[in-house]
C-alpha cells in the first residue's frame, strides 16, 4: 500500500468545497422539492416505466386466468423465461447487500454514497425475482403451500429440494435487506422531517423517522443494530445465490450439475449487481449533478469489482470446459459441443463476448472512469448475465436424456411481456425511491467531510477517527446540522 493511500483523506470520495450543510441541502432537495417542480426527466422516465407496469399487469392477469400455457415452456424445456428472469433479478439484487454489509465489515469507505440506492435496487430486484416462481406455480394463491405448516392435507414440502431452500433463502434475504435498508434510512428520514416544507411531508417523514432525535443513545443503538444486521447479511450474500445454484447443481442435467456452481453463481450475482448499480448510478449522477458524491473514485472501484467478478465467472466457464473434457463423460462433452455449435450457440458466444471479453477493457484505467465506457460495459454485463442464465437453463434442457424428446424453446409474447413488465416495475419503484427517499446516505457521506479538510459548521470532531469506525460521537457530530 502506498503512503498516499495510507494518508488518504478521502478527498477522492467527495467533491471539494462541501460542508455538512451543503451535503444535506444537495441530497435532500432532490426528494423534498415541491411536487409541481418535479423535473420533466423524472416524469418522462416514470411515465415510460408505468407503461411497463401496465404491461406486467395485463400479462399477469392473462397468466392467472389462462394458465402458464401462454408461456413458451414445453417438454423438455420446462424451465425457461420464468427461471431465467428469476435468477437474473436475484443476481442483480446482490450488490446491495454486498455493498452495505460486506464492504461495511471490510471498512471500505467508498461504499457510503452508493450503498443506499444499491440496497433499494436490491429490494426492488428481489420483488421482481419473487414474482416469477410464484407465478410459475400456476396457482399463486396456493403459494403458501410452500411454507411448512401443519395442515389438514397432511402435506409437507420436500425439504430435500433446493427449491424449498430457495423459498427460505429468498424470503430471509428480502426481509433482512428490507430491515437493513429501512433502518439505515432512519437518521436521514429525520433530516427530511426537519427539512420538509409542507405538512404532509413532515407527518409522513416524521412517522417513518420513528422519533429519531439524533441523541447519543440513538446513535449507539443504531450502530449496534447495523453491525448486527451487517453480520447477518454477510452469510446471506453467499447463501441466497448458492441456494439458487443448487436448484441446478443438485440435479443431474449436464450443464447444471457441476460442483463449482455455488461460488461461481455468487460471483456472477455480484458481477450482475454491480453492473446494474453502474447502469443506474451513471444516469442519476449526470441528471441530478451528483458528481461530488459519486466521484470518479467510486466509478473506478466499481469497475474494478466488475473486472474481478467477471474474471471469477470466466474461471467458472473455463473450468466447466476443462472438466467436461477431463471427466471423459460423453454427456458432458456433448453438452459443451452443443453449447458451442448447437442451435443456441450464438447466445453462448454472445455471453462469452459480453461477460468475459468486454469487461477486460477495465484493465485500462482510462476506461474505468469514462462514463460512456462504464455504461457500455455495464450494459454488456447486464445482457451477458441474462444470456448466461438462458444458456444454462434452456440450452441444457433442450437436449435432455431422451433424444426422441429433444426440442426447441422460443419465448412467446407473454414471456417477453412479463420480463419487460418487471423491468418497468423495477424502474417505476426505483424512480419513486429517488424522488421520495434519501437516495444517498446523508449522514454517512458527512463523515467523509472532516477528513477532506473542509470544516463544516459543527466542526469536525471525528478527526483521527476512521469514518467507518462508527463511534457514536462521530455520528452525532455528523448529524449535528439538523
Amino acid at each position: 500500500m502506498s503512503e498516499k493511500a495510507l494518508h488518504d483523506d478521502h478527498s477522492e470520495l467527495i467533491g471539494p468545497g462541501h460542508t455538512l450543510g451543503t451535503i444535506t441541502d444537495k441530497i435532500s432537495e432532490i426528494a423534498l422539492i415541491e411536487p409541481k417542480k418535479t423535473p420533466i426527466g423524472w416524469l418522462a422516465v416514470t411515465g415510460i416505466a408505468s407503461l411497463g407496469v401496465l404491461m406486467l399487469g395485463v400479462t399477469v392477469v392473462n397468466l392467472v386466468f389462462t394458465g402458464i400455457g401462454i408461456w413458451g415452456n414445453n417438454v423438455p424445456v420446462g424451465w425457461a423465461f420464468d427461471i431465467i428472469n428469476f435468477v437474473w433479478w436475484i443476481g442483480i439484487g446482490h450488490a446491495g447487500t454486498l455493498i452495505s454489509a460486506v464492504l461495511m465489515l471490510l471498512r471500505q469507505e467508498w461504499r457510503t454514497s452508493i450503498n443506499r440506492f444499491a440496497e433499494a435496487m436490491t429490494i426492488f430486484a428481489v420483488m421482481c425475482a419473487g414474482m416469477f416462481p410464484l407465478l410459475h406455480t400456476g396457482r399463486p394463491w396456493l403459494a403458501f403451500w410452500l411454507m411448512p405448516y401443519p395442515n389438514t392435507m397432511g402435506m409437507w414440502p420436500q425439504f430435500r429440494s433446493p427449491l424449498i431452500w430457495d423459498v427460505f433463502a429468498v424470503s430471509t434475504y428480502a426481509t433482512v435487506s428490507m430491515l437493513f435498508w429501512y433502518m439505515g434510512m432512519i437518521p436521514d428520514l429525520a433530516t427530511f422531517r426537519d427539512h420538509a416544507k409542507n405538512k404532509i411531508s413532515k407527518v409522513v417523514y416524521g412517522l417513518l423517522a420513528m422519533g429519531w432525535r439524533g441523541a447519543a443513545r440513538h446513535w449507539d443503538r443504531y450502530e449496534t443494530a447495523s453491525l448486527l444486521l451487517a453480520g447477518l447479511s454477510t452469510p446471506l450474500v453467499l447463501s441466497v445465490h448458492s441456494v439458487v445454484s443448487f436448484d441446478f447443481a443438485a440435479g443431474l442435467v449436464p450443464g447444471w450439475h457441476t460442483t463449482v456452481f455455488p461460488p461461481y453463481f455468487v460471483a456472477g450475482a455480484i458481477f450482475a449487481g454491480f453492473a446494474m448499480v453502474l447502469t443506474l448510478a451513471l444516469p442519476i449522477r449526470a441528471f441530478y449533478g451528483l458528481k461530488d458524491f459519486i466521484t470518479d473514485k467510486h466509478l473506478d472501484n466499481m469497475a474494478k469489482v466488475l473486472l474481478a467478478t467477471g474474471l471469477i465467472v470466466t474461471y467458472g466457464y473455463a473450468l466447466e470446459l476443462f472438466i467436461a473434457w477431463y471427466s471423459g463423460s460423453p454427456y458432458e462433452a456433448y453438452m459443451i459441443t452443443n453449447r458451442m455449435s448447437g442451435p443456441y450457440n450464438h447466445l453462448y458466444w454472445s455471453l462469452i463476448l459480453c461477460n468475459c471479453t468486454i469487461p477486460q477493457l477495465f484493465w485500462i484505467k482510462r476506461f474505468r472512469t469514462n462514463v460512456w465506457m462504464l455504461f457500455f460495459v455495464s450494459m454488456s454485463v447486464n445482457i451477458g448475465m441474462w444470456l448466461e442464465r438462458f444458456v444454462i437453463i434452456v440450452q441444457s434442457l433442450h437436449r435432455d436424456f431422451l433424444p426422441s424428446s429433444w426440442g426447441m424453446y422460443s419465448p412467446t409474447i407473454w414471456d417477453w411481456g412479463m420480463y419487460i413488465g418487471t423491468i418497468g416495475f423495477f424502474l417505476f419503484m426505483f424512480m419513486h425511491f429517488i424522488r421520495l427517499l434519501p437516495m444517498i446516505a446523508i449522514f454517512e457521506v458527512k463523515l467523509l467531510v472532516p477528513r477532506s479538510g473542509v470544516t463544516g459548521k459543527s466542526g469536525g470532531p471525528s478527526h483521527g477517527k476512521k469514518p467507518g469506525s462508527h463511534g457514536p460521537d462521530a455520528h452525532t457530530a455528523g448529524a449535528g446540522s439538523h
Binding site: 500500500m1 503512503e3 450439475h257
Partner: protein, 410 residues
C-alpha cells in the same frame, strides 16, 4: 534486527532444523522399508508447506490489491514465504520422481493403491487401457508423467517469477521510496493473482485430484486454494505470536493485528466450510456413479471418523471460538486456534488424498507422522533463514505501519 531478535530467530531455526532432520531420518528409514508408504505419506505432507509458501504469494497479492493493515503487519512473513517457493521445487522432486517412474509391477494392479505406479494411476498405461471408456488417449497424455512434470515446472516457474518480481519492486520501494516500484507491486498483483489462481487450480488437479484420476470436481481447485490461504494465515498468526515481544515486531504485533488476521482466518474457515460442503452436497444429491464413490470411500472404513473430526475441529470449534472478538484479539489464545487449524489442514489433506491408497480402510502408518514433521520442520528452518536474510523492517515500512496504527486503527 537486534541481538535479542537474532538470538530468538536462531533458536527457533535450530529447533525447526532439529525437528526437520529427525523427521527426515524417519523418512529415509521409511523409504528403505516401504517405499509405497513413503510416497503416500510424503504426498500429503508436501501440501502444507506448499500451502504456506504459495499462500504467502496469494496473500501478498491480495493485500497489494485491497490494502489493509493485516498485510502490512504480516508482510515480512509473507515475503519470506514467497522466498521459499524455490525450496519447494526441491521438496517437489520426490513427487516428480513418482510421476516419472514406476516400481516393479510386483504388487499387481488391483485398481486400488498398489498398482505399478507410486502415486498417480493416471501415469500408468495399463490403468488407462482398463478404463478406456472414460479415459481417452488425450487424457492419458495429459496425465502422463513427463507432461505432469513439465506442467509442474511451468507452474513453479510462473510462481517464482511472479513472486520475485513483486519482491524486487517491494524491496526497491522500501529502499528508495520509488512510487513507481510501489505501483508496480500492485500492477503485477492483479494479473499475477489471476494467473496464480489458474495455475494453482491445475496444480491441485494434477498433484492431488489425480490420485483418483477417474474422479473430477470443478470446485476442487477452489477448495485447495482456500486451504492454502487458511494455512498461511494460521502460520502467520503463530509466528507473530512467538516474536511479538521483539524488535521490530513489538511495534505493530499488537492485539489489533491479531484481530485482523484472526478475522481473515475466520472468514477463510467459513469459506473452506462453504466450498467443501457445497461440493459434498452437490455430489451427494446427484449420487452419480462417476462422483459419489469419492465420498463413499471417505465416509466409510474408518474414514468417517476423520470426516466428522473435520466437521467439528476444522469448522465448528474454530468457528465458534473465532466468532468472539475477545478471542480474536487475544494474542496468547488465538495462536492455539491457529495451531489447531494447521493440524486440521494436515488432517483435511490426508483425508483428501490418502484414502485411495488404503482400500481396506483407514490405517495410519508412522510415516504419516514422520513426513509432515520432516517437511514442515525443514520448511520452517528454511523460512526463518529467508526471513533473517533480509531486513525485518525499513524506515518506509515503519512509517506506513505508524500511519496505519495511528491514523486508521481503533
Amino acid at each position: 534486527m537486534n541481538d535479542q531478535t537474532r538470538a530468538k530467530l536462531d533458536g527457533m531455526q535450530r529447533l525447526a532444523l532439529f525437528v526437520g532432520v529427525a523427521g527426515l531420518i524417519g523418512l529415509v528409514i521409511g523409504f528403505t522399508q516401504n517405499p509405497h508408504q513413503f510416497f503416500q505419506s510424503y504426498l500429503f505432507a508436501f501440501f502444507i508447506p506448499l500451502g504456506f509458501a504459495l499462500g504467502s504469494l496469494g496473500m501478498t497479492m491480495i493485500n497489494y490489491l485491497t490494502g489493509g493493515f493485516w498485510g502490512l503487519g504480516a508482510r515480512r512473513i509473507f515475503q519470506a514465504g514467497i522466498r521459499t517457493i524455490p525450496f519447494m521445487v526441491l521438496l517437489f522432486l520426490p513427487l516428480a520422481y513418482a510421476m516419472l517412474t514406476h516400481p516393479e509391477a510386483a504388487a499387481g494392479g488391483d485398481g486400488h493403491g498398489a498398482g505399478s505406479w507410486w502415486l498417480y494411476p493416471g501415469t500408468d498405461h495399463a490403468f488407462a487401457e482398463a478404463n478406456r471408456k472414460v479415459f481417452s488417449p488425450e487424457k492419458e497424455l495429459w496425465l502422463s508423467g513427463p507432461f505432469m512434470v513439465g506442467r509442474a515446472a511451468f507452474y513453479f516457474l510462473s510462481w517464482i517469477i511472479t513472486g520475485f518480481w513483486i519482491l524486487k519492486n517491494a524491496k526497491k520501494y522500501d529502499e528508495t521510496g520509488d512510487a513507481k516500484a510501489d505501483g508496480m507491486t500492485r500492477l503485477i498483483s492483479g494479473p499475477g493473482f489471476l494467473f496464480f489462481f489458474l495455475t494453482m487450480t491445475f496444480a491441485a488437479f494434477d498433484w492431488a485430484m489425480s490420485v483418483q484420476p477417474l474422479w473430477f470436481s470443478t470446485m476442487y481447485g477452489v477448495i485447495f486454494i482456500v486451504g492454502q490461504g487458511l494455512s498461511t494465515l494460521a502460520f502467520a498468526i503463530i509466528f507473530l505470536s512467538r516474536v511479538k515481544h521483539l524488535e521490530p515486531f513489538k511495534h505493530f504485533a499488537k492485539p489489533n493485528l491479531f484481530a485482523d488476521l484472526a478475522t481473515l482466518m475466520f472468514a477463510t474457515v467459513m469459506l473452506w466450510a462453504y466450498t467443501s460442503f457445497s461440493q459434498f452436497l452437490i455430489i451427494w444429491s446427484a449420487n452419480l456413479k462417476e462422483e459419489a464413490p469419492w465420498y463413499v470411500l471417505r465416509t466409510s472404513h474408518g474414514w468417517q471418523a476423520i470426516a466428522i473430526g473435520l466437521l467439528v475441529l476444522h469448522f465448528a470449534l474454530p468457528f465458534f471460538l473465532l466468532l468472539m472478538r475477545r478471542i480474536k484479539k487475544d494474542a496468547s489464545f488465538v495462536p492455539f486456534v491457529a495451531a489447531l487449524l494447521i493440524v486440521m489442514r494436515f488432517v483435511d489433506v490426508y483425508w483428501q488424498v490418502a484414502p485411495p491408497f488404503q482400500p481396506d480402510g483407514l490405517s495410519v502408518h508412522w510415516l504419516d507422522f514422520a513426513a509432515p514433521v520432516a517437511l514442515t520442520g525443514i520448511w520452517v528452518w528454511y523460512f526463518i533463514g529467508r526471513l533473517k536474510a533480509h531486513p525485518l523492517t525499513s524506515p518506509r515500512q515503519e512509517l506506513q505501519l505508524e500511519a496505519a496504527l495511528g491514523g486508521a486503527h481503533h
